[in-house]
């Protein structure tokens, strides 16, 4: 187990010229011993490329990869002591699943009983005991994926790279395995990077989450921070289900107060809120336009709400309600924990609490304010 540091790492595919593609762009990461990191981002954003550079299958075009205090750029995959579960499983077809799993630590020269015990332990964990004697081409994608995950987790490595390890599993099994895998990783203090499309998985499994887009690392932070203090508009709308409500807003200054007038899709004024300019308000600078965001479950419905909206939909999902509200032409989604008796067509008073408001620069998308606090300085702009 070890730390992992990426120091300004870039990957360019192709040999310059017009077919060159910058798949990973100047990524910095410092991962602690025993930390579980989620790598989240849309398809093609460079997640797999990042892992492949760490494992040593791809050269690093720029920057340094450090495992522990060793710069490993020039080391072969064999010398890096990294375990990896591949996106495409990469099981060895002529061997049974058992041998595929045991293959991973064939170099350790363990006694057969010890090998069997280790295979059994991980096979129990991932529910693949019944297919240990089968061959990879004869089992389903989900089973191959678990076998491939088992092969990685069972090893003794400094670092574990899991590339979409549960993408092929049905949701119920995935939820069960997620908890078990987390326990396995924490028990052994494994330094782990998990690539995933599924943010529920990332939020549940990881100490910190790295959000990538177009090769750029936008933010590496705890799930809490990502939700409460997203570094930019992309992260804000990427993380959270349903996604954050975002409106384009005009800024009007009136004495010590800023009026933020949000527009609807066509740009007509929809609703406004007032923000004291004292304190954090200076983070607004002299901007005339911002993006205003609020998470759906922080919209407060009812009571003496300052705004009045028209309910357009109300969906009870069994544990929460998704309520669509028309606010002067702009559509807002609110989430409440209980069922709420506001049928479509009714009027609803609501409040957008100032401490839950996020403001972003209109052009770069960089966060300006979270609640009434200025966003942390020095965060990267969305590309």
């Amino acid at each position: 187990m070890a730390t992992l540091t990426l120091d300004r790492v870039s990957k360019i595919y192709g040999h310059g010229g017009k077919d060159a593609l910058k798949a990973v762009n100047d990524v910095n990461m410092a991962i602690d011993d025993g930390e579980i990191i989620g790598l989240l981002g849309s398809s093609g954003c460079g997640k797999t490329s990042t892992l492949r550079m760490i494992a040593g299958f791809e050269g690093v075009t720029e920057g340094d990869v450090k495992i522990g205090d060793r710069v490993v750029n020039r080391l072969s995959p064999a010398q890096r002591n990294v375990a990896m579960a591949f996106e495409g499983y990469a099981l060895y077809p002529p061997l049974t699943i058992r041998d595929n799993i045991a293959f991973g630590f064939s170099r350790d020269r363990l006694k057969k009983a010890e090998v069997d015990a280790r295979v059994k332990r991980i096979a129990d964990l991932l529910e693949i005991n019944d297919i240990l004697e089968r061959y990879p081409p004869t089992i389903s994608g989900g089973q191959q994926q678990r076998a491939s995950l088992a092969r990685a987790l069972v090893r003794n490595a400094d670092l574990y790279l899991l590339d979409e390890p549960m993408g092929q599993l049905e949701p119920r099994l995935r939820a069960i395995l997620r908890a078990r895998i987390k326990e396995w990783i924490i028990e052994r203090r494994l330094t782990t990077i998990i690539v995933t499309h599924d943010q529920t998985e990332a939020l549940a499994l990881c100490d910190r989450i790295a959000v990538m887009e177009a090769g750029v690392l936008l933010q590496l932070a705890t799930p809490h921070e990502l939700k409460d203090r997203p570094a930019n508009l992309f992260v804000a709308s990427f993380i959270g289900e349903p996604p954050m409500n975002v409106f384009k807003a005009r800024v009007e200054r009136d004495g010590g107060v800023a009026r933020l007038i949000a527009g609807d899709e066509a740009g007509h004024d929809a609703f406004g809120i007032e923000l004291p300019l004292s304190g954090a308000g200076h983070a607004l600078g002299n901007r005339h336009e911002v993006h205003l965001g609020i998470r759906p479950h922080l919209v407060a419905i009812g009571g003496g709400g300052a705004l009045r909206g028209q309910v357009v939909s109300n969906q009870w999902l069994g544990d929460q309600s998704h309520i669509g509200i028309d606010l002067g032409g702009a559509t807002l989604i609110a989430v409440t924990d209980g069922a709420l008796d506001v049928p479509a067509g009714s009027e609803a008073p609501l409040t957008l609490p100032l401490e839950s408001i996020h403001l972003f620069d209109a052009e770069s998308g960089v966060a300006l304010m979270h609640g009434l606090e200025p966003a942390a300085p020095g965060v990267r702009a969305a590309a």
Binding site: A55, G56, F57, S76, P77, A78, R80, N81, V82, A83, M84, F86, E87, G88, Y89, A90, L91, Y92, P93, P94, F103, G104, F105, S106, R107, P136, P137, Q144, S148, R151, R155
Partner: protein
């Protein structure tokens, strides 16, 4: 389709393709007289004299006794084909892997150049080569012939095996490398076994091509290094063409390739049933 019709059709096709071989097989048990009988007949008294003549190396013709080097020729064929294929495998399999896995500068051009050896008319290459070989003493040696045979076997092996390597997911190799194995042991333990059906097919095919080659050895080798293809010329004797012996020689010279094909078939079929290598 009705099964009976299928059987009939398959039999017809089989007969059509096998007829020449069957005919030659029958000829090999006949004397020249019965072969040249008009009209030809399927009824004859089988004789082993063609085979004994070939194996003992003594051919008794109307014009006297003729020494035959057929067994030596057969041995030469075997040595030349086997060594050529072995050398080509040694050189071609690693090269095929390199062409499949690494896109280095000019890799496509080099691969194509190697293939283009097969486009050149052999005689055009051989006549000047013969002069050089005489100068450096490679003329009429196994080594010289095996070297030239690479023109036949190497491109074939290179291009067929390359395709098989390309079909193996690099991540299967990566998975092994990341477990702590060197590049070389990954190549030996993972890549080669997975490409084995392809390697077997390529080896078989190039063995047959080498075995059937005529013109290289005709020009570059003298009697004691000649393979059966060239040696067969000896059956055209002063007292006529020895059809019986030719037929027996054909049967004997088919046998090694046939045996090899039957043996390699196991690997070929195994390769097909392991089809899902791409995982």
């Amino acid at each position: 389709m009705h099964p009976a019709i299928r059987v009939v059709l398959l039999t017809l096709i089989g007969l059509f393709f096998l007829f020449p071989i069957v005919w030659v097989f029958l000829m090999s048990f006949q004397t020249n007289e019965t072969i040249l009988r008009i009209p030809p007949s399927l009824v004859f008294e089988p004789t082993l004299q063609n085979y004994t003549a070939l194996i003992s190396g003594r051919l008794e013709t109307g014009a006297g006794v003729l020494e035959l080097a057929f067994m030596q020729n057969l041995w030469n064929s075997f040595v030349l084909s086997f060594c050529s294929v072995a050398l080509s495998l040694l050189l071609g399999v690693p090269a095929a892997y390199a062409f499949a896995r690494f896109k280095f500068f000019g890799s496509e051009d080099i691969a194509f150049t190697l293939l283009s050896f097969r486009f050149a008319p052999a005689l055009l290459v051989l006549l000047p080569l013969n002069l050089y070989f005489q100068d450096i003493g490679l003329n009429d040696t196994y080594i010289g012939l095996i070297w030239v045979y690479q023109l036949i076997t190497l491109p074939l092996i290179l291009w067929i095996v390359r395709g098989y390597f390309e079909d193996i997911s690099p991540d299967i190799e990566n998975a092994y490398r990341v477990d702590g194995h060197s590049w070389f042991s990954t190549f030996m333990k993972i890549s080669i076994p997975l490409a084995l059906p392809g390697i077997a097919a390529a080896a078989l095919l190039s063995f047959i091509f080498a075995w059937n080659n005529f013109v290289f050895a005709l020009i570059l080798a003298s009697a004691d290094k000649q393979p059966v293809t060239v040696g067969a010329l000896a059956f055209v004797t002063a007292s006529g063409i020895q059809y019986g012996q030719i037929a027996a020689a054909v049967v004997l010279s088919i046998l090694p390739t046939l045996a090899l094909a039957l043996y390699a078939q196991r690997y070929l079929v195994e390769g097909l049933s392991l089809g899902a290598v791409k995982g």
